[in-house]
């Protein structure tokens, strides 16, 4: 951001006079360019944000004809301390899911990008084909994979096991169900990591490798000292985006398991949706939960951004 501190270009006075009638000043342009964006963001974000912050301190249901009742921190206390409502369970599930799926996406995505790094006949087509899962609607993906995972009607078991009877019940086994979601998420979003890594890899100047070749550096050395550091910022960005998305993940899980079996795969976003809608409409409590999620996301993002800045400087 530092290069931005440079003052804006000032045009010469003579030039200015000459064009005064039809030229707007830089300042006007700045306002004209920035305010539409800011106004839209303020309208669409600030009000909802503050309103839900306000609601999070209230006992309120959007479908009851009663005004919000101020309960201060009760909602937060309920979420953080009440054992029976099992909110901690939702956070554990989300954490596990985020770590597993983001980790695997990085491994798979980076691996694929390394394989795709060198161009070959048809590599452009293959790259675009690989991106297809990412373009599908998550809710459709969830629903359709439900059919694919089905132990008797789906192809998944038929592809990885001999037959249906030897297969596993992916979506009804509490441990496997989370893995099923992770598998789908990895399938769907590894292409995103591939894309980021590929752009990082293609930006590495080739003279670095040439120099390494002249020094007869080993392939491992080249990878560790040239490839990895150069791709690192992009990998971190991929991790950042995917982690944020993992916390927001909702349509995929909803379509695939709906949180079942029991609540084994109920991520915090699914829980949030359950509390906020689906006949419950606990608006106050769900707003509080949403705020807790938001704080976690911001904290995690900050950690990543810090790591990101360190890799850039170092």
């Amino acid at each position: 951001m530092s290069q931005l501190e440079m003052p804006a270009v000032a045009a010469g006075p003579a030039y200015r006079r000459q064009n005064q009638r039809r030229q707007m000043s830089d300042r006007t342009i700045t306002h004209l360019f920035i305010w539409p964006t800011l106004i839209l963001l303020i309208l669409m974000n600030i009000f909802p944000l503050f309103y839900s912050l306000y609601l999070s301190f209230n006992d309120y249901s959007v479908i009851a004809n009663e005004p919000p009742k101020w309960v201060a921190l009760d909602n937060y206390e309920k979420i953080l301390t009440n054992e029976r409502s099992r909110y901690w369970h939702n956070f554990t599930v989300t954490g596990k899911y985020a770590v597993l799926s983001v980790g695997l996406q990085i491994v798979v995505g980076f691996g694929l990008a390394m394989l795709l790094k060198e161009k070959f006949a048809g590599s452009g087509l293959i790259t675009t084909l690989i991106l297809i899962p990412m373009m599908l609607s998550p809710v459709v993906v969830g629903l359709f994979w439900k059919l694919i995972f089905d132990p008797s009607k789906g192809i998944f078991n038929h592809l990885i096991y001999m037959n249906a009877t030897g297969g596993k019940e992916w979506l009804s086994d509490p441990t496997l169900a989370l893995w099923a979601i992770v598998i789908v998420d990895v399938w769907m979003w590894s292409p995103f990591v591939v894309l980021l890594c590929l752009s990082g890899l293609s930006a590495i100047p080739s003279y670095l490798y040439e120099a390494a070749a002249i020094d007869r550096a080993s392939g491992w050395f080249q990878f560790r000292r040239i490839t990895l550091p150069q791709v690192m910022p992009l990998l971190l960005i991929a991790v950042l985006f995917r982690t944020i998305e993992a916390f927001k993940q909702f349509d995929l899980v909803m379509g695939l398991t709906g949180g079942t079996p029991g609540d084994a795969t109920e991520t915090v976003s699914v829980r949030l949706y359950r509390e906020a809608f689906l006949g419950k409409f606990k608006t106050g409590e769900s707003s509080a939960l949403a705020y807790i999620v938001l704080i976690i996301i911001i904290a995690v993002s900050n950690l990543y951004i810090r790591a990101l800045n360190r890799t850039r400087e170092g």
Binding site: I39, V62, P151, K153, T165, G258, P261, G262, L278
Partner: protein, 447 residues
């Protein structure tokens, strides 16, 4: 500086006008009623209603629009509309459990006088009127016209049941002939008998889904048949929901799930039909509303050999089944002209002739005359079982708090039945205590 501020305000004004302008256009008042809007869930019967609506348009010139909302967000959509006292819909074909909320919170228009004046309450079966139309129970006040009657019934594979080898083997093993089950015990035996994983055949499909009311509807079918209710006369749940018999019924229901095809761990009506169509299940439970697909040879390869029966009797002689279905209500927040137009539609819709057409296009009518006619009973293989079932239906709570009462049931039944966590007693104890808490908070029972 002035210019800067001015341009800023100009922009805000622009955005606001844009926003408000759209609202103003939408809120233009309507005098003459030329269109009626009915909200229903997104499924085939709604298409049938649209077709009936088209006939109404042909007859009167008033357009009828059936808006279909996915089942998953059907209640949310309506609840949000109620909260805003919105008039987007004139009528709703609402679930039977909604009526308490619709009435006590003033969302539904009272139809008592209209029914009595036109004798409509006498044209439908008493059970359907009681569950779809009346609130509070026994008060004689009506709020909805029973539109789509529905209950849980069973479909079975006649070819398997009538196979001589199966019959012989069954009689040898269980000591009585293989036939449509008369009791739940027989149903269990038959399910066990047909569970042959090596042939990819399983005994019975039962509801297990965690969302909305699915697994509850499945379990309560057994529970009612064990002579258990959701509450006693004083609306008390403690010792009722978790009574000895209820524990027995739940253990039995879990026992049935053992004979279900793999992959039905989160199953509801759609999955039931699927496992029947692909030949994995010898019997399934399902709402009658979903049976038309099973007698359709273009959809179900076993259509010719599919039979139907109504829920069998429990071990203590009780015989009940759980109710589905919906009644047509008028939303209270629409203008008087639109209310009148809606009543006119219901009057037309409730006439015997239109109800006959309703049954013909695929709707499950509640009209006594149509239901009793030979023509109806023989029209499909399941109509007889349907007519019989409608005489012994029971329902979940229908007070405004029904949704809250449903949550603990769904939440605690699923882990026990599907994953085998805990015991039936523990699950029901938890349900009873949480429901009790909800009822206490609602002021329905004392602490």
């Amino acid at each position: 500086m002035v210019r800067k501020t001015a341009s800023f305000f100009l922009l805000i004004v622009l955005v606001l006008t844009l926003a408000v302008g759209v609202g103003a256009v939408k809120a233009a008042p309507k005098q003459q009623v030329t269109e009626l809007t009915i909200l229903w869930a997104e499924w085939d019967p709604a298409n049938y209603l649209q077709e009936i609506g088209n006939r109404y348009e042909a007859a009167t010139g008033i357009k009828v629009n059936v808006i279909q909302e996915p089942w998953g967000s059907f209640y949310d959509r309506m609840a949000a509309e109620w909260a805003a006292k919105g008039d987007a819909y004139d009528m709703v074909v609402g679930d039977s459990q909604w009526i308490g909320q619709g009435v006590t919170q003033g969302h539904y228009m009272e139809l008592t006088d209209f029914f009595i004046e036109n004798g409509i309450h006498e044209t439908v079966t008493p059970a359907t009127l009681k569950f779809y139309g009346e609130y509070p129970a026994g008060s004689g006040r009506y709020w909805a016209y029973p539109t789509e009657g529905d209950a849980v019934g069973w479909a079975y594979r006649k070819d398997l049941f009538e196979d001589p080898e199966n019959q012989k083997a069954f009689e040898e093993k269980y000591g009585y002939p293989l036939d449509v089950p008369q009791t739940w015990m027989q149903l269990r035996d038959i399910a066990e008998f047909f569970t042959r994983p090596e042939q990819n055949l399983y005994g019975v499909g039962v509801y297990t889904q965690i969302d909305y009311d699915a697994i509850t509807m499945g379990y309560e079918t057994a529970m009612f048949s064990w002579g258990v209710e959701w509450q006693d006369e004083n609306n008390n749940v403690l010792g009722v929901v978790n009574s000895e018999r209820a524990v027995e019924a739940l253990e039995f229901y879990k026992g049935l799930y053992q004979f279900a095809p793999p992959g039905t761990s989160n199953a509801f009506f759609a999955e039931m039909n699927d496992i029947f169509i692909n030949g994995q299940a010898a019997m399934i439970m399902n709402y009658f509303a979903f049976f038309p697909a099973l007698i359709n040879p273009g959809i179900n390869p076993y259509a010719e050999v599919t039979g139907f029966f109504s829920t069998p009797a429990g071990p203590y002689g009780d015989r009940y089944t759980s109710l589905g279905g919906q009644g047509l209500s008028v939303i209270n927040y629409i203008s008087d002209e639109r209310k009148q137009a809606s009543l006119d539609f219901i009057k037309w819709f409730a006439s015997e002739d239109v109800q006959r057409q309703w049954a013909e296009v695929g709707g499950f009518t509640c009209n006594v005359a149509v239901l009793e006619s030979e023509e109806f009973l023989n029209a499909t293989p399941y109509n007889a079982a349907f007519a019989e079932s409608m005489t012994f239906v029971k329902d979940f709570w229908n007070i405004p708090e029904y949704e809250q009462l449903l949550r603990p049931v769904q939440r605690h039944l699923h882990p026990y039945v599907v994953s085998g966590l805990g015991t039936a007693r523990e699950a029901l104890d938890k349900i009873a205590s949480e429901q009790h808490q909800i009822l206490v908070e609602a002021g329905i029972v004392a602490e």
